[in-house]
Every structure is written in C-alpha cells, then in structure tokens.
C-alpha cells in the first residue's frame, strides 16, 4: 500500500512542532511522544491537567463544553480546558485531530495540494430541499450578518466560501478551513429567512396622514 500523503504531510508538520490547530497546542515531548492540550493551558504544569493517552479519548474531551453542554459543531470556540492527551506518533495524532476537528486535516491536505473546491453560499442554499428549501430566500445582508455571527465569532474555522470575506489563512500551524457553508449555517439561514419573511408580511404600522 502507498503511504498516506496526508500522514506524510502531518509527519513533516510534527517535526516542526510545536504548533497550533484551532484551540489546540501540539508539542513534541522530551524523549518520546506528542502532547495535545488546550492552547490556553500552555503555561500550566502537566500534573495540574488530567492526562489521557488514547486517541479516541479526543471524542470525550470534545463532546461537551466546560458547562456540560453538547458541542455538535466541533469548530465552536469553546473547547474545554484542563486536559492533556499524550500520543505515540503521527497516526494517533491524526485519529485524535479527526475527532477534535473532523475533516480539518483532510481539508488542509487538499488545500496544500490545490484540490480545494470552494462552494459559494448561493449554490449550497439552492440545492437544499424539504424544510431547508426556504433558506435560499435569505437576503444578502442577512447572510453576511449571520456569517459574522456564526462563522467569525462562533466558529474556529475560516469560511473560505464567504466571497466578500478574504480570510487570512494562517501560514503557521494547521489552519481550520471551511470550503462550504455547513448544515448549522444552513439551518440558521432558514430561521433568518423566515424571520425576514415574517417581518415583511407583518402589517406596517400606520404612518399617519
């Protein structure tokens, strides 16, 4: 079997560690192993953090925020602190990062290899059916506002699809790239489109004579 290009890319990147991916700091340990922890915990002593050592532990760490709320959108910038994940090599790091930030490594590899296809928002919304069909009626202002709220403040990924936006993809670390509006965005676009529709349909208050 041919060696995985993604794993090769990650292995090279790990040689230059430490680096950041989203809210995670990745650093080589003296001796052997690679450590992942929350970047805000960077200065803390290891024995003050709860230590995990299986790549699959990443799913449990990423599942709930500090307040115990479920995190369905893994790009949400509320990854909890207080843990460190000690892994044996690039293969384990890949498994863990796939759980922390699904598809992030694959999208990074695609971007590095010029294989990324950015899908404009209009195309994503036009192909929706069923209850999400209405999302296509969102106004350009409504979409821009939602993008700022949902993507720029509510998500660690860079929305490459937002045309007016020219996201500065960081040259260090591993960037979190978003080539196409996600299902969270589409669901919220539908809510905004409905609210816009209702506001227009509501009887206008009399403007006097």
């Amino acid at each position: 079997m041919t060696p995985s290009p993604l794993l090769q890319l990650l292995t090279e990147r790990l040689r230059d560690a430490p680096f950041h991916i989203g809210q995670i700091a990745v650093s080589p340990l003296t001796g052997e192993g690679i450590e992942l922890r929350h970047r805000d915990d960077a200065g803390l002593a290891a024995d003050g953090l709860e230590t995990f050592d299986r790549p699959d532990d990443a799913r449990d760490i990423a599942q709930y925020d500090a307040a115990g709320e479920y995190r369905p959108l893994k790009g949400s910038p509320d990854l909890k602190r207080g843990w460190r994940l000690v892994l044996a090599g690039p293969g384990e790091v890949r498994t863990a990062l796939d759980l922390f930030y699904p598809a992030a490594l694959a999208l990074w590899a695609a971007c590095s290899g010029n294989r990324m296809r950015v899908v404009p928002l209009a195309r994503t919304l036009e192909r929706q059916t069923g209850m999400y069909r209405f999302a296509r009626n969102i106004s350009p202002e409504g979409a821009a506002d939602l993008m700022r709220r949902r993507c720029l403040t509510g998500c660690s990924r860079h929305p490459l699809w937002a045309e007016s936006q020219n996201p500065a993809v960081p040259s260090h670390g591993i960037p979190l790239l978003c080539p196409e509006a996600c299902s969270f965005f589409v669901a919220e676009a539908r809510v905004v489109a409905k609210a816009e529709f209702d506001a227009k349909a509501a009887p206008q208050p009399a403007t006097g004579n």
Partner: protein
Amino acid sequence: MNEPARLADSALLLLGHGSTENPDSSAPTLAHAAEIRRRGLFAEVQCAFWKEEPGFSISDYLFESETIYAVPNFISEGYFTREVIPRELGLEGPTTRRDGKTIHYCDPVGIHRSMTRLLAGRARELAPGVAPADSALIIVGHGTGLNAKSTEAIRVQVDRLEALGLGYGQILDAYMEEAPFIAEWDQLTSLPHVLVVPFFIADGLHSYQDIPVLLGIESAPTAAASQRDVFRHNPVPIRGRSLWYSRSIGTDPSLVDVILDQVHDFRSHAA
C-alpha cells in the same frame, strides 16, 4: 465478508444522520466505524453526517483511496437515502466516477436481510431463560405517512422473523404514531412475557423517552442523566405481564456485520 483482501485498497464511508441535540445519535455510527477500522478490512474508514461534522458534502476530501463504498447507516430507504445523500455527495447512480475516484453507493443497513438475524439475536439476549412460546416479540417503529418506508421495513422484518421459526408465541409490529399502537401493547397480545425492540439506528428521544412513556414504564420524560437507566430494569412487571425493553437495534455491535454485508452484496451484484 468472504473476500476482505480485495477490499484492502478501498475505503468505507458510513453516512449517519447525527443530531445537534443528542450526542448518542452519532455514537453507534462512530463505534461501528471504529470496530471496522480495528479489523483492518479497508484502507480507510470514515463517517460523515447530515447534522454533525464532517458534513456529507465534504466527504470527498476524507479519502485517499480511489474506490469508496458509501453505506447509509439508516434504518430504511427514504428521503435521506434517495434524495439528501445522493444530492450532497453528487452521486449519479449506484456507481459514480469523478476526479479519479469511484464511489459505490450501497443500500441502507436497515433493509439488509441480515437485520433479521440481528433482531433474533437481540430478542434472545434480552430475555434469557424465558420460554419463547410464552413470549410476544414486538418490533416497534415510528409510523405515520412521513416515513412509510420505515413501516414497510418493519413489516418485512416481522415476516422474516416468523419464517425463521424461532418459537415465539407471537411476533408483531407496532408503532408510536399509527395502528397497531405500541401504547396498546397489552391488548395486542395476551402472553405473559412481552419483548420490545425499537427499530431505530440510534438511541434518542424515541427510545429513551417516548416509547417508555407509551409502554407505561415511565410516567414523564426522564432527565438526561438517567436516559440509559430505562434499559436497566428488565423485566418490568406492568399491566399483569413481564415487559422486557431493549435498546435500539442499531446500537447492537453486530450491526458491523450488516454494514459489511451491504458492501459485500453491492460487490456481488456488480460482479
């Protein structure tokens, strides 16, 4: 699976619904993927979800292999398997070739013949030591016109379970929102033991709360922390019978074999 060696250069993509509310929705799909990965049958195993990440539409990026078998981890044919998945994955039929990749789109797990074997096994484990002749086995689904295909899938399973000659006093289908109603389980059978298996792909609101309330084993929706407790009280003495309540069939670890069977069937049909 008879010929795993020939799959070793291919990838498996498991497609699940997922949920923005309930982490247990995607848990079985991820667990089945982890087990298949552990068995080393495929070069790569990945999941994609409608309501979680990674989304269906970016699943192309996940693979380095040229051949990808996509298996919907859904309980029946319907809106998702016929419309949403093909659209989001850009599929053109059972086999799609583009950008040097070949995507084979398999049938959803829930309609495979081997689901019957899984249901039979689940029923046996649920009430060990109880004589099948004294037991009614009820396979429960959602019902209503919205999901006509899932009702049909359950009826097919009940017929196949009957054909296996397992010795159960009765084997029935029942639904949350259409007749025969699961709420009337004690009128559907007079046998002393009643075994209830939800025909869903994951545990969630229906199996944790709605069905237990309809069965009468929970009086009000249970708190999130005790959701799994609902399966731990078997048998529940109620309405003069012994009621045995199972987790959703899709959480069974043997579902892994049904997924592999769907890939195998696709390959034999194509051959």
